[in-house]
Amino acid sequence: MSILGTRVLRVEDPRFLTTGGVYTEDVQDEQLAGAGHVSFVRSPIAHATIRRIDVREAAAAPGVIAVFTGTDLAALGTVPPMMPGLVNRGMRRPLLATDVVRFVGEPVAVVVTDEPYQGEDAAELVDVDYDPLPAVVDLAAALSGQVLLFGEVGTNIAANFGDQGALDARLFDGCDAVVQHTIINQRVAPAPMETRAAAAAWGQDGRLTAWIPNQGAQGTRAALASMLGLDAGQVRVITPDVGGAFGAKFGADPEHAVVAWVAKRLNRPARWTETRSENLIAMTHGRAQQQTVTIGGTRDGAVLAYRLEILQDAGAYPRAGAILPLLTILMAPGPYAIPRAEAVGRSVVTTTTPVGAYRGAGRPEATAAVERAIDLFAAEIGMDPAAVRRRNLLPPFTEPHATAFGALYDSGDYAAALDKVLAVADYDELRRQQAGRRDRGDTVQLGIGLSCYVEITGAGEEAGDPHENATVEVHPDGTATILTGTSPHGQGHATAWAMLASDELGIPVEKIALKWGDTDLVPEGGGTGGSRSLQQGGAAVRQASQELIGVARQRAADVLEASPADLRFDPARSAFEIAGDPDAAVPLAALAEEERLLVRAVFSAPGATYPFGAHVAVVEVDTETGKVVLRRLVAVDDAGFVLNPLLAEGQRHGGLAQGAAQAFLEEVVYDPEGNPLTASLADYPFLSATEVPGFELVDMQTPTSYNPLGAKGIGEAGSIGSTPAVQNAVVDALAHLGVRHIDLPASPQRVWQALQAARTENA
């Protein structure tokens, strides 16, 4: 019986549960002995020129080793934006602000102290003179360019996607019904439980060792090296346990580079852990798209045309968020067969926290837009939203399907996903209950919301096609070690990759150790994000294990004095035997005694895969207060083969929760002056256990042919389908009262205001 597909408990858990994970702040290493503690001074104002920074009082405070400003780091220059060909290359960022600050929270100075407590005392004493400039928060204002963030650049537009001026004026010809709406996919904070941190030490050999929580040590090393003007070979990145990332710990931030620079400058190791308040304003935010959706079709439910126009808020310095519209556009039509569709976008800079990737990274935005559009269209023509979806879904396919947007969906059965989720949710019964409440005029109304989605996982890196490496080694003592280029931060790769190796090698999971995240040990790797790990990294582990058996077979043949073809590998015994003569056997581990037994393999995928699914959300809306309570969230998330259902379910739960949180709870709010109003966990409405129910997961596995496992990526699926399902449910609850749309998040006030507006309209 293969272990693959079974619910194996995590091997990493015992230590997490007892002594706790070793996160960057916990790291005890002799190289870090005597480290100075780094505290950042950050701008309290969204947009200003820096007239003067006076560090004298701070420098004299107890325990202060040094205080540095942007002037001290001038030699390092500025950091270009990601994809500078696509993104305006003039929008560069200093490691510490020098003459201008562009968002509340931008680092302006750094204080280094003997003890961490002293850092906060001293940081307060750094005196910065700001000359305020007008803030740019509103997207229309940003577009107008009246106030520029980068004067020399001459525009606030960071990137264009497609030609705004070349939209087809006749796209909706022949449509009986056309609906247009401008909707918001609001800014949210990734807020992993572990904030950002760094520890840095320089060796006698001039090499930097940096401990940084990240999603891919190799990418972090490259980013760090680039910011510091070093060759990658001069940098070693070590990845301690990482307390969550969700897309916001890729690469490296200026603060990480500053910590490393401080250590070099002071010839003394340096450490930094940001506070949560810093994290909520200085870690990249997510989403932040304004979307205009236009959808048209026939009165009997056929969607003929769809247009998506995106205005992406990039924040002050373009990061990944500035280019995510590429993915939103790629996935714009979702799982639907829409004859005519177009999508364009722009990203603009604003005097707010830079926007980066956040679970789903561009794809939740696409799904949220088209799912809202489908519901708007359904309401317009008076048709059941499930029926409209069923009418327009692409029919099932097993051969790759190319979309007009350049995506190649590998396999999909979207209607089956919809049917399954409706069945488990008992959709008809829900509609009956809803009707009953409407008839009685209950204060608390029931809303049923749907979403159908397809998303892209495992897309290639800038550096080439999707691939990942793994090294598997069997030791003479019967244990094994795997080196992986993935970078788990909660996903359980230590267990999952061990399962894959165990299945091939016959070595128990508990005897297989996984190593990752140390660039000296694993110099190449794509990290963990974009739901790529199993389909590429896992496939590589399996491939390396199989190839190792092949290498071992040769050795076994010598030992057993037989022909390799006559040998059979028995995973149950982890031994080679001469076929038909089980006593003539040699254990796999024994074949590692004379010479190391290891194989490094690179798995290359033919392309990205496209998991899909359908969600049903059931909400109760108090029509007197506007409060939304999520009662049920039923999810079909089909990512092909499920290696470990326990882990896959956990990923789905987490995604569902985050997606639901975006729908009715979480948002980052700025006032018109660019001051963040949600800068602490007391203010930012971070989801707690009381706001969500247990989730109902439905199993569906449509394999892909793109890797031998048949696996697609599951990590982000939950967050993609759930947001629109919950949003649609809230609107659905109030549809009979005339409400057509409520923006994310469906806060009580927004819901109540929508009700008021509908009542006024219908009065």
Partner: protein
């Protein structure tokens, strides 16, 4: 994240605490559970030079009956108050309010004295005390005094406590079997109220509708004149000028005040 440096002295008695307060004036703050003060100090919104710890003084803990009143020691933590049999029987609104504060960990530390002295208009216990028509006992250098809840809260996070005074006890009327209603509107379970309403014995108190917990006087008068819950509650926001924040603007807050008041009154009956 870290408070500015300070000195710390455990008080040996309530009188000793008052003596220390008198000596150190504005430089000193009292510390009981610390769950109103320490969060402010960690964000450096407060930076007293001296903390006087009264948290373990036995004379400030516990609940006892005194004729027609319950006397609750100021250093009684919310969890203990919520579970206290006497309070649950004779002033259940107060026990319920204590059970709404924050989360279990916070309730194991935060005290009623600390909460009242902190005087957050969005908090549960100040509103509950106003609804119950309770009072506080205060010890100062000149002796002790009593003050009604209506008079005690004087402004936004302000009470009538002088810098050299210690809140020693809270008194509420004993009313076993009396109806009560409590409605707290939040987005997440352990949030401060966006608006809250508490009703009992003809009194209606509102949280987060102004700088102090407010009495809904117009609604109370209507009730006294025989109006039903809906009619009285329609007047709940009269005279209020609530603040605005990301959760609620003025109009929505006033609307919530009316809805919650009606629900509290219905609950009461």
């Amino acid at each position: 994240m870290i408070p500015a440096p300070f000195d710390y002295l455990p008080a040996e008695s309530a009188a000793h605490a008052v003596e220390l307060l008198a000596r150190h004036g504005d430089d000193a703050k009292l510390l009981a559970g610390g769950h109103s003060l320490l969060p402010m100090m960690k964000l450096r919104l407060a930076a007293p030079a001296l903390l006087i710890d009264v948290g373990s003084l036995a004379e400030l803990a516990g609940v006892r009956a005194d004729g027609g009143e319950l006397v609750i020691g100021a250093a009684t933590c919310h969890a203990d108050l919520a579970a206290d049999e006497l309070t649950r029987a004779d002033a259940p609104l107060l026990a319920h309010a204590a059970a709404q504060v924050g989360d279990p960990q916070i309730r194991h530390r935060g005290t009623i004295g600390g909460s009242l002295a902190h005087a957050d208009p969005a908090a549960d216990l100040p509103m509950a005390l106003v609804a119950l028509g309770g009072s506080v006992e205060v010890l100062g250098p000149g002796g002790s005094r009593r003050e009604t809840a209506d008079d005690f809260f004087t402004g936004f996070f302000e009470t009538s406590l002088e810098p050299d005074e210690l809140l020693t006890a809270v008194r509420v009327p004993r009313n076993p079997g009396a109806g009560w209603g409590y409605q707290k509107f939040v987005r997440r379970a352990n949030d401060w109220a966006i608006v809250a309403a508490a009703a009992t014995g003809g009194r209606i108190a509102l949280a987060n509708m102004g700088p102090v917990p407010l009495r809904a006087h117009a609604a109370e008068r209507a009730l006294a004149a025989g109006a039903n819950a809906a009619q009285a509650a329609a007047l709940a926001a009269d005279g209020t000028s609530p603040g605005e924040d990301m959760h609620a603007d003025r109009g929505y807050r006033q609307h919530l005040a009316r809805v919650l008041t009606r629900r509290a009154l219905v609950q009461q009956d």
